[in-house]
Symmetry: C2
Subunit: 196 residues, 2 copies
């Protein structure tokens, strides 16, 4: 396989790029050798050399413990449980949470053969038992597998002496009712609150 | 900027990837360090080091002249003129052409300030004058700028003693009439042919 074909072949493995867009991306890169191709090659090399998994929470960062776990201004008494590093990043972008995280690395799934022993759950139970931990927020996705996993974890944390909470469900901010599914609408109605 | 942010920033510059999909791609790469991240870094480095522009036709390849120009089994008497290397690759994938190519590197565009001197046209005229060249096929896109460029080149080649031809227009193979524009349908009707 030639250098160009190999580049196209590897780019096509990225999520969001098919064979055709991988060819476009390869051509785009080759035409911008100094401004894009070489910097991207260097950035990939740097990431390969420096990025590691945080032994505490499972986040990906260039340090272990990660920047979130090291930040003394954050509240280590609240642990937010997410399925994936991408979810942790999304919550960090929102900037609404100032506690610590715990990345499960997936969800329980009978179909895909993912059991509790395949997820980062024992470490979570151990963290929940540590001194000073007051609350565990279950922020798995609002899918069947995500909610099943949340229920399982809630059971496992029952005797750890921490408050276990979940994210609110309802109408997304900026969302239009006409485009929402029945489940979301029913939940939003059921959990309605008085308007002051 | 951290290593991960820099990687996301560069990936977001690829066509077809926005900020969100660039983050997904970066995470996908970091999680597959040995199977994808490191090979991709190496492939980009190899491409940066080896890919060059063919001085004859403008194709991108690891050799100059490129594999197409070097192939003795191909007919050097027919030159197919395309706008971009991507078009050359598309024709090669179709496998329907066994002659040589000439990449213009763009189209004439008054709006974008692209004049004849910005394209690879003088080299094309010189090639058309060479011994043994019988035909130049104008395979620029069927857009206004592409067709304007084709007309301009046809004028420039008028006294070179070669046949100048263009691609057929009509209904794409597998295309449905209902989804085609009026221009294509008019052309397909005008250029109808007897069915044996």
């Amino acid at each position: 396989m030639g250098d160009i074909e190999r580049l196209v072949h590897l780019l096509a493995k990225l999520p969001g790029l098919g064979p055709r867009s991988a060819r476009r991306a390869a051509l785009h890169l080759i035409k911008r050798r100094e401004s894009l191709l070489e910097p991207l090659a260097a950035a990939l090399g740097d990431a390969a050399a420096s990025v590691r998994t945080c032994a505490t929470c499972g986040n990906l960062d260039t340090t272990d413990p990660c920047a979130v776990c090291r930040d003394a201004r954050r509240d280590g008494g609240v642990i937010c449980v997410v399925e994936d590093v991408a979810d942790l990043w999304a919550l960090e972008r929102a900037g609404a949470f100032r506690g610590h995280y715990h990345v499960l690395g997936g969800v329980l799934s009978a179909l895909d053969g993912v059991g509790p022993e395949d997820l980062n759950i024992p470490a979570l139970v151990a963290r929940a038992r540590e001194d000073g931990v007051r609350e565990v927020i279950l922020a798995t996705n609002a899918t069947v597998d995500g909610q099943t996993t949340a229920h399982y974890i809630a059971d496992r944390l029952a005797d750890c002496g921490v408050v276990v909470s979940g994210l609110a469900h309802g109408v997304p901010v900026g969302g239009e009712l006409d485009y929402l599914d029945d489940g979301t609408l029913s939940t939003a109605l059921k959990d309605r609150h008085p308007v002051s």
